[in-house]
Each structure stands twice: as C-alpha cells, then as structure tokens.
Amino acid sequence: MIEVRGLHKRFGDTEAVRGVDFRAEDGQITGLLGPNGAGKTTTLRLLYGLLQPDDGEIRIDDEDFAGAADRGELRRRLGVVPDEVGLYSRLTVREHLRYSGRLQGLGGQVLVDAIEQLVDLFDIHGLANRRTDGFSHGERRKVSLARALVHDPRNVLLDEPTNGLDVMSIRVMRRLIRRLAERGKCVLFSSHVMQEVSALCDRVVIIARGQVVAEGTPAELLARTGRGSLEDAFVDLIGSEEGLG
C-alpha cells in the first residue's frame, strides 16, 4: 500500500511537484497518467527516496517514510523499475539478479531460490546465462523488471515500463504486471500512453503540472466527464491539449 499526501518538490525555480495526493492499494494496479513533464517521474523518485521531498507525507504499508534517515528499510519494501533500463553489458542475467539480491540484503540459498523463481516467472531460461550485451529492448526491460522483484517486495514502482517496446513485448510486459497484482502486490506505474492505462489499470491518477487533477477507476472518470473515451476524458481533465506530448 502506498499513500502520498501533499507532496512538494522544487528544483531551483521550477516546482515539479506541487501537492500530489493519492493512494495505491495492494492487489491493484494504479496508473499515474499525465503528459510529459507533468511530474510523474519526480513523484516516483520521491517515493523511493532518490529525491528528498520539500514537504509532504509518504506512507508505505502504513508506515511513514518521508524524510526517513533509513532508506534501506523503505527500499526493501519497494521494487523499483526506473525509466532507464541501465543494465551492465558484461554481466549475465543471473549475475544481474544476484547483484540486485545481494544489494537488497539477500544471500545464500534464499537468493539462489529467488533467482530461479524469477527465471521461471519471466520465462528467460535461454537468456539467463548470457551477457546482456546485444539484448533486444524487450529483453532488457524484462531483466530490469526481474531484478526489481528479486527481494519479493510488496510494492512495485514502474516508470514508463512499456516505453519503446513492440506490440509483442508490450503484451508480455502487461501479463507480467497483471500477475504481480494477482499475487497481492501494490503496483504503481506511470505512463503518458492512454491505451496502456486503460488496458491495465484498476485505478487511474491523472497528474498535470505537478498536481493530481482526477483520481478514480476508468469508468468513474468517464462518468465524471461525460465523455465516451478515456482520451477525451483525459484532455478534459488536464484542462488543455497543449500538455499532450
């Protein structure tokens, strides 16, 4: 469970996040939808403590973590997949998983089992012992998601997880994300793509110019705006078409 209240973050003169509130439940997929530059990535980075909020409250599994000195505990509860895939081209997939596991404090047989479960779950037996140099974009995204799950976190943050993928890879990625929610995890992901959100999400949080402009199930958002498609509803809700990159 992830809960955010009154989150603020300023970079120099620009206020990237200006009072974001939302709640993402366990067992659900919550989509952070907004145009480019709306503050989605900054919000996620504040959530996992890469950035320090200027103000606001962050609660993970009903514990307060804003400004907490111990990032370690916060991050053990989160699996983070940043926008940048960022793999090490000279390491194999198993070595990536092992590295992430050890950095999350795992070791021994627990870690070995965790790695094998992920290899099964992601169906990457053929790739597992290959160095990631030369992997396709889809394969790289898979590895980056897999390593974020090695410590079996209750909450998963994904920043634009299907960015740049082809149709087949997108379907695989969606199936994996759904599987996580079915297992009772709280999945929060950001996207600027409407279809992505409508295809996956139980709840949608629409962000524009650093603020939440609407929150609800896709059906609720349609009802509220009286529009036929989510795309029209989205344009209505963010108040203009210009922010739509």
């Binding site: 370690g72 940048e84 090490y88 070595e95 590295y99 404090g105 070791g107």
Partner: protein, 390 residues
C-alpha cells in the same frame, strides 16, 4: 549488512572490470611499458659502450693482407668469409659491412705505395654503424703502426708525421646518461598508481551515469557509503595489480648482469621492489578515491577520461622540478600526499635512507585523505543533481 553490501559491490565491479578490455589494458599495458622502456634504453646504452665485445668482420681476399688480419684478430675481431654477392648482401642488410682486400693490395703494399682496402656499407642503415666506425679506426691504427715502423726503419721519429693528436674527453658518459634514465624509474612507479585503476574508477562512476544504471543502483537498500567503499576497493585492486606487475617486470628486465658494460650500478631487486610497494600502497589507496571524486562529475566515460588525464599532470610537474633539483626539500613536504611519496621514492631508488618519521607522516596524511575522499564519493553518489542529470 554494510559489509554484505560492500562485498556485493566489490565482487560485481571486479568481475565486470576483469571482462573489460579497457580496464585490463590500463592496468597492465602501462605496467609493461615503463620498465621495458627503461630497460631497452639502458640496454642500448650498454651496447654502445660495450667495446670489448667481439665483432665479426666479413673479409674478401683476407689472404692478401695477413698482417692486417693478424692485427684485427689481436684486437678481438673475428674474420669471417664474405657473402657470395657482396653488394646485395650489404644492401639487404644481411651483413652490416664487408671489407674487401683487392688483388693489387699486396703489390702496392710491398712497393710502399698507398694500398687501398674497400669497405662496402649502406649509409642509410644505422645498425652496425658503430662497429663500422670502430673497424675504420682499427684499420687507420694499423696504418699508423705500419707507417711508424717504416719511418723507424729509416731512422726517423714517427712523431714527425703526427703534429697533433686528439684526446677526447666525453663528459656525457654512458654512466651519467644511464643514471639519468634510471632516475626516471620512480616517476614510472608513481604514475602507475594514477593509471592502473583509472578505467575501473571511471566505469564505476561516470560509467554508471552514462549507461543510465546509477538510478536503479541507488534504488537498492544498500547505502551510498557501501556503494562507494565497494567500488573504491575494486579500483584499488586494479591499481595494485598494475603496480605489482610493474615491479615484477622491473625485477626481471633490470637484472644487473645485463648492464655490466654500462658503468652504472643497476640495482633493482626484490628488496627495492618491496620498498617501493610499501611506499606506494597509501598512494594506491588514495589516488583511486580522488579519481572517483573527479569522475563522478562527468556524464560520460570520455568526459571523465579528459579530467583524469589532466590529473596525471599533478605528480609530473613536481616530479620534474624535483629531478632538476629546482627546490629544496623541507620537512612539511613529507606530509603532503603524492609529493611525499615522490621525494621518498627517489631517495629509496638512490639507496638513501628514509627517516621513519617522514615515511609515517606521508603515509598517514595520504591514508587520511583517502578516507575523506571515499566518504566524499558516498555523499556525491547520492546527490540529487548527479543522479537526475545526464
């Protein structure tokens, strides 16, 4: 947990770098280059100096000038049969030169007329040039001797025909040159600590930023301090590997018996190597931390490489001044990292003794700097602006 995280980072960086050609080259190519350069320059000098060595002279028509041949053998030369095609053999460089005694030599010699010998050589080739000059000198020497005998036989003093003699006093003796070349060894050892781990240092900092892996690395529960320490240790390992292999190669290529003709004592054995290692270890711990602090501000491998290449100038400038004895060594210099090691390693190689106080002052100051710099790496890794800007 801290140690667990440090170990994870350390292992990963070691494996990653061991598979990286760039890292291996920076650790080992330089280690090879320095000592080989010094050894080959010394070897070249020793060759030039080595007048006692037997030279082999291919001679055509040796039987026509038995006295000359006897004289040359007496000087330590050996007379060899000439190649079949003299001109081609010389042009192709098969032999450096061929001495030809023409048919009319004996006749003219007997008649007390100037008797020619022909020396075939290729002036565009440098090999054998010094041997050729020596041979020419010997033949001239034999001529002088014969002339003296002929004059004496006629009751004249040979000095009449030698109104002036030149006695060379070459001050650039091979020994002095050799000492200068040997004097560059400390600089090579010092620079090894700047080169050995350079690529790993860059890859672990600017490299993470360039490939976009820094953000996901920081999303783990390991603290930035643990990341900094693990990465730093891996760089230190490469640095030390480079330094140790350089010392090992130096022991092998600088064996004193190879430079006997040089007139300068080349004395670099296990004992000296161990001394250098002890002296350099604090530096091998500090320089990687300094390199990481600088490289972390770079967004790409190339940018970082530019910064770190400039950093290499840091020991070179005082090194040269030291070599030129441009300043006096005062006590506080022994407590300045890099400078202290520079002064002390020169003393060590020269065989002078280093005071314990000076050694510990330098080592402690350097180690303290290393600790501060590693701490700084930890701070910088977590800095918002460094993670978010690419």
């Amino acid at each position: 947990m801290f140690i667990h995280h440090v170990a994870a980072v350390f292992e990963k960086e070691l494996v990653d770098s061991a598979r990286d050609r760039r890292s291996l080259i920076s650790a080992f190519a330089y280690a090879l280059l320095g000592p080989l350069l010094v050894a080959s320059m010394l070897g070249f000098l020793a060759d030039r100096r080595d007048t006692d060595r037997l030279i082999e002279i291919p001679v055509a028509g040796a039987e026509r000038a038995p006295a000359l041949m006897e004289y040359l053998r007496g000087l330590g030369a050996s007379i060899a049969p000439p190649p079949a095609d003299i001109e081609r053999a010389v042009q192709r460089g098969d032999v450096p030169f061929v001495l030809v005694v023409p048919e009319h030599f004996s006749e003219r010699y007997r008649d007390l007329r100037s008797a020619p010998v022909e020396l075939y050589f290729d002036a565009s080739r440098s090999e054998g040039r010094s041997q050729r000059r020596r041979l020419e000198g010997w033949i001239r020497g034999w001529g002088d001797e014969v002339a003296s005998l002929r004059l004496l036989a006629r009751g004249l003093d040979p000095q009449i025909v030698r109104p002036v003699t030149i006695e060379g006093r070459d001050l650039a003796t091979p020994s002095a040159l050799g000492a200068q070349i040997l004097g560059s060894l400390p600089m090579f050892f010092l620079l090894a600590t700047f080169v050995g781990g350079m690529s790993v240092a860059i890859d672990a900092t600017a490299g993470e930023r360039e490939r976009g892996s820094l953000e996901s690395l920081l999303a783990h529960s390991a603290s930035t301090d643990a990341l900094a320490v693990g990465k730093w240790l891996a760089v230190v390992v490469f640095n030390l590997l480079g330094l140790v292999s350089m010392l090992g190669i130096s022991i092998v290529v600088l064996q004193p018996e190879r430079f006997i003709g040089l007139g300068v004592a080349v004395n670099f054995g296990i004992e000296q190597a161990a001394g250098v290692l002890v002296l350099m270890i604090p530096l091998a711990l500090m320089v990687p931390a300094l390199q990481m602090v600088m490289a972390i501000f770079a967004r790409s491998f190339k940018e970082a490489q530019t910064y770190l290449s400039l950093l290499i100038l840091m020991p070179i400038v005082p090194g040269f001044l030291l070599l030129l004895e441009a300043f006096d060594i005062v006590p506080w210099m022994h407590a300045v990292p890099v400078l202290a090691q520079q002064i002390q390693i020169v003393q060590l190689i020269r065989g002078e003794s280093i005071s314990q106080v000076a050694f510990f002052a330098g080592a402690l100051a350097t180690l303290l700097s290393a600790v501060v710099l590693v701490w700084l790496v930890g701070r910088l890794l977590g800095r918002e602006r460094i993670v978010t800007s690419r």
